[in-house]
Symmetry: C2
Subunit: 112 residues, 2 copies
């Protein structure tokens, strides 16, 4: 797998439509790690899903109901969450905002 550039200017990064009020930008990565910025409109949903990748996330802005392994928590700007591999998780956006998601290994499905 290739590797990202070292300097990543937000104006140069494609904004991908994930759908239903959610967009994504891919920041720095190689095969071992990948950082993605996910932007949510109010009311949009990150469907419950799981993947073998370990995920650590930071709420840049907004307010979300985050579900991990059947536990729910309201998280706001400045909070974070951690998702072990192969663990159900999802979010509901209560106030428009941005989540920084980082994965190990890289989400190769995000790079296609």
């Amino acid at each position: 797998m290739k590797q990202s550039k070292e300097f990543l200017l937000h104006k140069e990064i494609a904004v991908e439509t994930v759908g239903n009020g959610v967009t994504r930008q891919i920041f720095g990565y190689n095969s071992q790690i990948l950082l993605a910025k996910i932007t949510f409109e109010k009311g949009s949903i990150g469907d419950v899903h799981q993947h073998p990748h370990v995920q650590t996330s930071y709420i840049e802005s907004g307010k979300f109901e985050v579900m991990i392994n059947n536990s729910k928590q309201i998280l706001e700007k400045g909070d974070g969450f951690f998702v072990p591999g192969d663990t159900d998780h999802g979010v509901v956006c209560l106030e428009a905002g941005v989540i920084i998601d980082t994965f190990t290994p890289a989400r190769e499905d995000f790079l296609k």
Copy 2:
């Protein structure tokens, strides 16, 4: 190595003094990945250093001169950078702000 809690409320996370205008909070981690929020006062410096961990970072706020492997770039809110393992890097804070740093594997030295 242990693993962080799944929900990480910023009010509950210790703010560690790194020194010289820099503080750090540790968010979600296990042995494979670790996310840290680093807050810089204007004029503070993240000294040039290197580590075997691969790093992908996101500028939450502020303005920084970022050096990676002898290349320099001014980065602002919304930009990012990627540091391969064993590669010199450092930052100079031009306007007070926050960088979200994520590492693989975890920075065990941050957990002591």
